[in-house]
C-alpha cells in the first residue's frame, strides 16, 4: 500500500509539474494547443454537421409513402375499390384516393398553370393512390413496390422517399470521408505534439543526462514528458470543444430561420456530454502517444551509454 501511494504521489507530482511547465511559456504553449485544437475541431465539427443532417433526414421518414398513378381507364368507383383492397394488405397502413378532379383543381390553384390548364379539353390527370406502408422507410419496401407495380390498373409507382435515401447515401459517403480526415488529422496531432516534446527534450538535455547519471530510470525520465503531451492534447481538446460551440452559435440563428421556412422547429444539435468527453479524451490520448513516440526516439539519443 505504501509503495502504491508513493507511486501515485509521484505521478500526481509529475502531472501537476508538467502543467506548470506548460504555463511557464504561455505563448508558445498556447500556439501548440491552438494548432492541436483546430486539428481536432475539424473532424469533430464535420461529424456534428453530418449528425445534424442525418437527424433532420430521420424526421422526414414519415413521408415514406408510395404514390400510385392509375391508368386513365380506371374510373372513380374502381379506384375506390382498389384502395380498399390494397388497405387489406398487412404491410399497408392506409391507401388514400386522390380524385383526379380534386387533383386538377389543386394543381390549378397551386402550380400557376391555372389558365393554361383551363384550355385543355379533358383532365389529363389520372386517379392516384397514396399508400402508407406499415413499416418505416428503413424496412425493405421492394416487395410491396413490386406488388403494386404488378397490378394491371397501375400506370406508375413512385416512392416519395427516394431522395431521402439518396441523401442518406451521400451522408454515409461524407462520413467515410470524415473518417479519413479524422485519421489524417489524428496523425497530425501526434506529429505536432511529438515535435513539441522533442524540442522540450532538447531544452532539458542537461537535466536528463544528470538524472540518468544519478540512476533515474528511463520511466522516471519519460514521465514528465508524457504528462506534457497529455496536457497539450487535453488543452487542444478544450480548444476544439470551444471552437465547435462558437461555430454552432454563429450558424444557429440562420439554421433556425431555415427550419422555420420548412415549418420545422428543428434546433441544431451540438456535442453531447459523451461526445465532449470523447473529444477531450482523444486529445489527451493522442498527446500522450505523440509524447511516448518522441521520448522513445529521443531519450535514447540522450543515453550516456
Amino acid at each position: 500500500m505504501n509503495f502504491i501511494s508513493r507511486y501515485l504521489a509521484l505521478h500526481y507530482k509529475n502531472f501537476i509539474s508538467a502543467f506548470t511547465r506548460i504555463t511557464e511559456q504561455p505563448l508558445g504553449s498556447l500556439m501548440t494547443i491552438v494548432v492541436i485544437g483546430i486539428a481536432l475541431a475539424l473532424p469533430a465539427g464535420l461529424r456534428v454537421m453530418v449528425n445534424n443532417l442525418s437527424v433532420m433526414s430521420e424526421s422526414w421518414d414519415a413521408a415514406a409513402d408510395f404514390t400510385i398513378y392509375l391508368e386513365m381507364t380506371v374510373d372513380e368507383k374502381n379506384a375506390n375499390e382498389l384502395a380498399r383492397n390494397i388497405e387489406q394488405r398487412s404491410d399497408v397502413d392506409s391507401a388514400i384516393l386522390i380524385d383526379r378532379i380534386e387533383a386538377l383543381a389543386e394543381f390549378q390553384s397551386y402550380s400557376g398553370f391555372g389558365e393554361a390548364l383551363e384550355m385543355l379539353e379533358a383532365n389529363p390527370l389520372p386517379h392516384a393512390l397514396v399508400i402508407s406502408p406499415t413499416d418505416g422507410p428503413n424496412s425493405d419496401l421492394s416487395e410491396l413496390a413490386m406488388a403494386l407495380e404488378a397490378m394491371e390498373e397501375t400506370a406508375l409507382v413512385q416512392l416519395d422517399t427516394a431522395w431521402v435515401e439518396r441523401l442518406r447515401s451521400i451522408l454515409n459517403l461524407i462520413l467515410r470521408v470524415v473518417d479519413i480526415v479524422t485519421i489524417l488529422l489524428g496523425f497530425g496531432v501526434i506529429v505536432v505534439i511529438g515535435n513539441t516534446i522533442r524540442l522540450e527534450i532538447n531544452n532539458r538535455q542537461n537535466e536528463i543526462e544528470v538524472i540518468k547519471l544519478v540512476g533515474g530510470s528511463n520511466g522516471y525520465v519519460r514521465r514528465p514528458f508524457l504528462y506534457s503531451g497529455f496536457w497539450y492534447g487535453f488543452g487542444g481538446g478544450i480548444i476544439a470543444v470551444f471552437t465547435i460551440w462558437v461555430a454552432l452559435s454563429l450558424v444557429n440563428s440562420s439554421a433556425t430561420l431555415l427550419a422555420q421556412l420548412y415549418n420545422s422547429d428543428y434546433r441544431l444539435i451540438g456535442l453531447s456530454l459523451k461526445e465532449t468527453l470523447v473529444l477531450l479524451g482523444t486529445g489527451a490520448l493522442l498527446g500522450w502517444s505523440g509524447a511516448a513516440i518522441a521520448t522513445v526516439r529521443h531519450l535514447r539519443d540522450a543515453d550516456p551509454e
Partner: protein, 224 residues
C-alpha cells in the same frame, strides 16, 4: 569493491583507451588515478558507472560482474555509486537543495527523509546556509562542493570523481580533497581521477597511473 581484469576499451572511432587494464580497489579504500589527458582516466570511470561497456575483460563492482547487468537495470546499479564531475553538472534552473535532492527523488524515500538527507549532505560540505540559492550564484569551489553533496546524498558505498579539482586553485583543490578524505574515513570507497600530481603529492593515498592503456601501481609518497 572495484576489480578490473584485463579490461580493454576501444571506441567506435578506433581509439583504444584501455588495453589490458587490471587493478583491485578494496572496500573502504581511497585511491587516485593519474596520467596525462587522454590516457583513459575518464574511460575507466565510465566503465565503473556503466556509462560505457568494456570491449573485453571483466569489471567487477561490489563482486557484481557489470557485463551481466542488462541495460534496463543500469539505473538501479548507478544508484549505488556517487559520481562527481569536473564541470559539476548542476542544474541552473533549480536551487542548491533541489540539485542535491535529485538522486533521492528518483528513489522510494519519503519527502521528510529526503529533506533530512539533503541537509545532512549539505552540512557535510558546509553549504547548509545556501540551500535556497541558485548554484549559479555560487563560486566554482562551492559549486563543486554542491556536486559532492549530490554524489553522497544517497549514501553510496562507492564515490568516483573525474577531475573534481580541475577548475580550482590549489587551496580550494586541497579543501575538496580533504572532503573526500573525510568521507573515506567513514567507510566510503573513493576513486579519484586527476592529473594534478602536485596536489596528490600532499596526500598519501594509493596511486594508479594509466600508461599505454594499462594500470601501473605507483609508489606512495612518504607521509608528512
Amino acid at each position: 569493491m572495484i576489480r578490473f581484469k584485463n579490461v580493454g576499451k576501444r571506441y567506435a572511432s578506433g581509439r583504444e583507451a584501455l588495453s589490458g587494464a587490471s587493478f583491485h580497489l578494496e572496500k573502504g579504500d581511497m585511491a587516485f588515478i593519474t596520467g596525462p589527458s587522454g590516457a583513459g582516466k575518464s574511460t575507466l570511470l565510465k566503465l565503473i558507472a556503466l556509462i560505457e561497456r568494456p570491449t573485453r575483460g571483466t569489471v567487477l563492482i561490489d563482486n557484481q560482474n557489470t557485463s551481466r547487468i542488462p541495460r534496463r537495470r543500469i539505473p538501479y546499479f548507478r544508484r549505488k555509486i556517487g559520481i562527481v564531475f569536473q564541470d559539476h553538472k548542476l542544474l541552473g534552473d533549480r536551487n542548491v537543495f533541489d540539485n542535491v535532492a535529485l538522486p533521492l527523488l528518483i528513489g522510494p524515500l519519503r519527502h521528510r527523509e529526503i529533506s533530512r538527507r539533503v541537509r545532512a549532505a549539505l552540512d557535510q560540505v558546509s553549504l547548509l546556509e545556501y540551500e535556497k540559492s541558485s548554484p549559479l550564484s555560487l563560486s566554482t569551489g562551492e559549486q563543486q562542493r554542491v556536486g559532492i553533496a549530490r554524489a553522497i546524498a544517497s549514501r553510496p558505498a562507492l564515490v568516483i570523481a573525474d577531475e573534481p579539482t580541475g577548475n580550482l586553485d590549489p587551496d580550494l583543490s586541497l579543501e575538496i580533497m580533504r572532503l573526500f578524505e573525510r568521507f573515506n574515513q567513514v567507510g566510503v570507497t573513493i576513486l579519484i581521477a586527476t592529473h594534478d600530481i602536485e596536489l596528490i603529492d600532499k596526500l598519501h593515498y594509493r596511486r594508479l597511473r594509466l600508461d599505454q592503456g594499462r594500470v601501473v601501481e605507483m609508489p606512495q609518497p612518504h607521509g608528512h
